[in-house]
Every structure is written in C-alpha cells, then in structure tokens.
C-alpha cells in the first residue's frame, strides 16, 4: 500500500464531499437535529391526560371524587357531560382518553354503607397510556374509598388506622427520570449508522453506476488504497459528529457524563469502522445506489434503531430476537454509551461490551477488504 496513492484517492473523495455543500451541511447538522428530535420528542411521562366526566349522581360526594381527579397532576377533566353518547364520541374521536361514569346511586349507596363503583372507560388503543391512566385512577379512587371508610368508622366510635404504605422510589443512573438522558446517548449510534453505512454505500455504488469505477481500477491504485481513501473522509465526519452529539448531550440536555472521554472516542472509532465496513461491503454487492440505500437501511439503521436497546428494552423482546441482538454490533455500542454517560461503570464491566465490539470491528473490516479485492481481479 502506497501512502501517496492512498492520499490521492482520499483527496479526491474529500474534494467530492466538500464540493457538495448541501450534503456536507446536512451531514454536519443532522446529528444536531436528531439529538434535538429524540431529546424532545420521546417521552412517556404522561401528565394532564384529558378525561370526560359523566356525573349521574351530582351529589357532594361525587363532586368530591371528581375534585380529587382534577387536583391530580395526571388528569384534566376537559368536559363535564350529561350524555352517554357524548362520552362515547369523545373517546372515539380522541378528545378524551378516559370517560369517568359516576352512577346515579353513588352517594345513596355510600350513605347506606354499601359498596359502589365508578366506571372508567379507557381508550386502550395506546396500551401504555391506558395502563398509566388506570394506575393513577385507581390510586385516586382508592384514596377516596379508604378515607370514607375511616370516616365511617370514626362516626361510629371506632378508631382504625390508615395503612400508609409509601413507596419511595430511587431511580439510579437517571435520577430525574429524564427521557433525554436515556435517549440521547443512543442517538450517537443512530447518527453513525446513517453517516457510516448510508453515505459510504452510496459513494462506491455511485462509482459503479456511473462507470467511473472501471477507470479507477485501471489506474495503479490498489483495492486497499481505494477502500481506505474512500472511507477516511467519512470516518472523519463520523467522529466530528460524535463529538458534536456528545457536546449537545452534555451542554444542552445536561445528560450526565460519568465515564471517560477516551473510552467514548475509542468505542466510537470501533463502531465507525464497523458501519463503514458494512457500508463498503453493501456497496460492493449492490452496485446501484437505490439497492445500496435500501440494504444499508436493513443492515445498519434498523438494527441500530430497533434492536440495540436504544429505545426498546432488549430484555423485553422475544427470546429469539434477544439472541439475534447478540450478533449486532450496535447493541454493544449502545450499551457502552449508556455505561459511559449514565452509569460510569468500571473498566471490568465495560470490557463485556468492548471486547465483542472489537471482534466485530476486526472481522467486518477484514470482510470488507476481502470482498473488494475479489471483485477487482
């Protein structure tokens, strides 16, 4: 491998990248946009859920209960209606997530010392929102019920104690349960798969598609020099993006950073080599840009998005899918990122991810160089 020839190819590629200002700008601000997007847009912490109240009793007691709902941070009574069909409609068209129906004999039964119930009709389309709603609603109703019982006993000269079991939850690593702290580190993996695999797979496929690859082959440049020359500029862009992402995470979203910066750079460099190799490999197989882009989407972006633990917890996936994640480099990289940013794990725990990542880096880089060599001869 000759350094001058490698530099010549790299220079050509850099000129090509720099000349295309729009792509360059997009590539550099994409990480910013992606980090902001996920930092703000991904949140499951539900508050002020719209509910529709249908109070058929209209008594002091039913008003008390509704007030408790109104006082909770989680609910907002958007309408007090008096028609069942309105309630159905409100849930159907999505204006209310829950309909609360208080029966007409609500206060009557409470005065008589009989059990009564409140109906909660919940829009179950979004199972998570529904679960959260039901949980909070139960807490409100139970608190009300328990108080009524204690009052009832007191009025009859009995003293009963409340049973105040308090749950004190401490959320480790992400103390304020900020979704941005959980999401933003993983965005790095996403950005790198886009830059690494998408862009590179296209640059080489483009040479094939336009027929300039044959010209390149006829020059004394060796396959290895072509490969390195083509990939180095993208490697540089990827690493710049990593640093940009990390800076936004730290200074805009105030995500904690508890590991070492060196580990971040090292693991990012390894993952960058992984995606670049995959992108290169894909472009060699696909040879046309449309096919290359679709393959890159399947092979790098989707795993990084879906199966890396970036958004969806791996432990909650079906077992077969969990096995598949073990052979995905993105999984290990995302795990390292979370350890560096949130956990500040000691080196011994980091190795569990860094070693597989290093193996993938080596194997994929080897595979990429090998594949290209064969095609040329």
């Amino acid at each position: 491998m000759s350094f001058t020839r490698f530099m010549a190819v790299a220079k050509k590629e850099i000129v090509q990248v720099l000349r295309d200002t729009r792509s360059l700008v997009i590539v550099l601000i994409m990480p910013v946009i992606l980090v902001l997007l996920f930092g703000y847009g991904v949140n499951l912490d539900l508050k002020h859920l719209p509910i529709y109240a249908y109070d058929r009793d209209g008594s002091q007691q039913s008003q008390d209960l509704l007030k408790r709902f109104q006082a909770s941070d989680y609910f907002e009574i958007v309408r007090l209606g008096n028609k069942y069909s309105d309630l159905t409609r409100a849930i159907d068209d999505g204006h209310a997530k829950m309909g609360l129906v208080i029966p007409w004999d609500f206060s009557q039964r409470l005065r008589d010392g009989r059990p009564t119930s409140v109906q909660a009709l919940v829009d179950g389309t979004d199972d998570n929102t529904a679960n959260v709603l039901i949980g909070y609603a139960q807490a409100v109703v139970q608190g009300y019920s328990s108080e009524i019982q204690l009052d009832w006993l007191r009025d009859r000269g009995q003293v009963a104690q409340p049973a105040p079991v308090t749950v004190e939850t401490r959320t480790w690593y992400n103390e304020n349960l900020e979704s941005s702290a959980f999401i933003v580190p993983g965005v790095l993996a996403l950005v790198m798969s886009v830059i690494g695999a998408f862009l590179t797979s296209l640059t080489i496929a483009r040479e094939w598609e336009r027929g300039t690859m044959e010209q390149l082959i006829s020059t004394p440049v060796s396959p290895l020099e072509i490969m390195f020359g083509k990939l180095v500029p993208y490697f540089a862009i990827g690493m710049i993006d990593v640093i940009v992402c990390a800076l936004i995470a730290l200074y805009w979203f105030h995500v904690p950073f508890r590991g070492s910066f060196l580990t971040l750079l090292l693991s990012s460099a390894m993952f960058m080599i992984v995606v670049l190799s995959m992108g290169f490999f894909i472009s060699v197989i696909a040879k046309n840009q449309l096919a290359a882009s679709q393959l890159a989407l399947l092979a790098t972006f989707l795993p990084a998005f879906l199966l890396s633990g970036f958004l969806y917890a791996i432990e909650q996936m079906p077992v077969v899918l969990q096995w598949i994640t073990r052979v995905l480099p993105a999984r290990y990289y995302v795990s390292v990122l979370k350890k560096i940013f949130l956990k500040g794990s000691p080196a011994a725990l980091l190795y569990a991810d860094l070693v597989p990542l290093a193996i993938f880096t080596f194997v994929l880089a080897l595979l990429a160089t090998h594949s290209f060599h064969k095609r040329l001869t």
Binding site: N43, L44, T116, Q119, W152, P164, V167, Q289, L295, K343
Partner: protein, 377 residues
C-alpha cells in the same frame, strides 16, 4: 398525451422490475421490517428482573414480597441479605428493580405510621423504569387496601359487613387486554409505507439526472406533467400494493383485529400516498445527486415518524413541538389506521384527517411540479 404517458409508464415499470435486486427490495424489506418491528417494539413489561432485600422478616413484609413474586410483571430472582449487595446487583445489570424493606415495616403499619417500601430502579431505560414504578405503586396500593380491610375486620366484624367503599371498574375499550402489539402494528404499516415511498420517489427523477438520461427524455416530445405522472404513477401503484401487503401480513401474523371498513382505510392510504409522493418528488427535484436525495429524505423521514405519535404520545412533547406535528402527514394517517383497525370508526369521525391529508397532498404535489418546471427550464 395518453399514448406518450403509456410509453413512459411502460419504461418505468420495466426499469423497476428489470433488476432482480430492486424487485426484491420493493417487497422483501417491508415484510422483514414489519415482523422484526412488530416483535421488538413494545412498551409492555413482563418478568422484570427483581431482587428483594427484606430486613424486617415479618409476616407483613413477606406478604408484600409475595405479591411481587406472584405478579407477572416482576420476576423475583433472589433474596438478598445485605444492603451492599443491592448496589452490586444493579450495577452489573443483573436486576432492574431492587425492593428493600427496612426493619420496623410491620411495626409502623400496626401503629398507622408511614411504612416504607424502598425501591431502586435502574433508570438507564427511563421508559421501563417509569412503567415498572407504576406497577410497583399499584401492588403497594393493593397491599395497603387489603391491610386496612383486615384491620377493620379485626376491630369490628359487624361494621365490616356494612361499610361504604368505592371501586374503580376499568373497561379498556378497543384493546381490552392492553396489548402493545395492537397499538404498534397499525403504526408500523404507516411508517413503513412512508419510508418506502419517500425513498423510492426521491430517487426517481434525480437518478435520471445523475446518469444523464434526463436530458434525453427532455428532448423527446413528452411534457413535464406527463413525465411527472409517468414517474409517480408506478410508485403510487407499488405504494398501494405495499400498504396492502404490509397491512395483511401485520394483521394476520400478529393477530390484530380490523374492525372498520376497508374502504375507509384505503381512502386514507390513497390520500397519504399523495402526500408521500409529493414529498419524494420535491426532494427529487431539489437534489442533484442520489446521495443528496437520500440524505434529504432521511431528514424528512426521521422527524415525520418521530412526531407522528407513532411510538410516543404527542401530548408529552413540548408545546412548540406539538404544533409541528400537524405538519406530519403520518400523524393523520396513524389516526385513520388506528381508527379503522382498533376503534372501528368511519368517515363521520375521520373526515378531518382525510381533509388534512388532501390539503397537504395537493400542496406538496403542486410545489413539486412547480419546482420541477423551474428545474428543467
């Protein structure tokens, strides 16, 4: 005009279906993605790895722990004996939840003082942490309720026969078992269609330009409008076919009910595809190379999917972002999809969505055509 359009269409269809790889790419990846996505995307939690540190050793504390053991959401793996172990287990990622009951728990309960259940949650995945915390609260609440009931029974068996109580009767509509998959599968149909159609059409015009065949076409008697129609109609057909394919695979494979009218869904799909073709064409006309087109389309796809309410409720986003979601055609199509799949509602409820998509689609297509006219002049 029709004759020229026909020739153009024949050329386009041949071009798309000529290549074996492209043929596969039109139908293979959407199905693979549907299945992987369907399995991976879930916010449901079950069998969360849990450890218990019971320092009270009372009947009450054991009763509380047994409620966690029998819950499907938690998998109590082992009992710890020392508080130091908690840190180790969570740090190593062996458990996500640690429950700690300190000495004096039962004592406090009997006195009616606050009895603490300490919970430590690994919040690196803040979603899992949030949902798990919700279930922990529900279990603790249930325990407190039953404890109070027992107490009342002890104090005065006669009174406990005649005491008021309120219960919440929850009825989740549309998705009675609150399955995550029922929520996600209709959403995946929309998102995959978006990715596929935008990518394909974004490449359509720019590819001809990059290879240099656009000039050749422009010197033929074909008019710009015919050219655009010829370019988009095939993708419209392919898009409609893909929507149906993805929807059928998703429905049958994941057993999601379809309660509405197929015609309503189809109308939604036709309008949605109009928007997607507009976006794709617009990208294609403002891009000089396929690489640019890909990067630009990515720039559209990511926000459009994230802000559509596909996975994360729009109501939890910052207000300014919520306004932005109105610009995403997918937002409307998702309401149509979930409305027809789960809610079984018809045009009387969904017309605002249809109207919004028609407006966006016409606007986008008009912009694309204008932009294209300018580009070839």
């Amino acid at each position: 005009m029709l004759a020229r359009l026909k020739q153009m269409l024949i050329k386009e269809f041949i071009q798309v279906f000529r290549d074996k790889r492209t043929r596969f790419l039109l139908f293979g990846p959407p199905i693979i993605q549907m299945v992987v996505f369907g399995y991976a995307a879930t916010f449901e939690i079950s069998h969360v790895a849990t450890v218990v540190l019971d320092l009270d050793h009372s009947q009450e504390s054991r009763e509380l722990v047994s409620r966690f053991t029998s819950s499907p959401y938690f998998d109590v793996q082992h009992q710890l004996t020392h508080s130091r172990q908690v840190e180790d287990v969570i740090d190593r990622g062996k458990a996500t939840v640690a429950l700690q009951i300190n000495p004096g728990f039962a004592e406090n309960l009997r006195k009616g003082q606050t009895a603490l259940l300490q919970v430590i949650v690994d919040a690196t995945n803040s979603n899992t942490a949030l949902i798990a915390a919700g279930y922990i609260n529900q279990i603790a609440l249930g325990f407190a309720k039953d404890y109070q009931q027992d107490q009342i029974n002890r104090i005065s068996p006669q009174l406990s026969e005649r005491i008021p109580s309120v219960e919440l009767q929850q009825r989740p509509w549309y998705n009675p078992d609150l399955r995550s998959r029922w929520f996600f599968v209709p959403g995946i149909v929309g998102s995959l269609t978006l990715v596929l159609v935008v990518n394909l059409t974004a490449f359509a015009v720019v590819r001809e330009r990059e290879i240099g065949t656009l000039e050749q076409i422009m010197v033929t008697p074909i008019r710009p409008a015919e050219f655009i129609l010829g370019k988009t109609l095939p993708f419209y057909v392919i898009g409609l076919f893909d929507v149906s394919l993805i929807a059928i695979v998703g429905t049958l494979w994941f057993q999601v009910p379809f309660r509405g009218q197929v015609l309503v869904l189809f109308t939604g799909a036709i309008l949605f595809l109009l928007c997607m073709l507009g976006v794709g064409l617009l990208i294609s006309t403002v891009s000089a190379t396929q690489q640019q087109a890909l990067v630009t389309s990515f720039f559209f796809i990511m926000p459009a999917v994230t802000f559509s309410g596909f996975g994360f409720p729009i109501s939890t986003m910052p207000q300014w972002l919520q306004y932005l979601t109105y610009a995403s055609p997918l937002r409307y199509f998702l309401i149509v999809l979930r409305g027809t799949y789960l809610k079984g509602v018809g045009m009387d409820i969904l017309w605002p969505q249809m109207l919004a998509m028609t407006g966006l689609g016409v606007g986008l297509l008009a912009a694309a055509v204008l932009r294209f006219r300018k580009a070839i002049d």
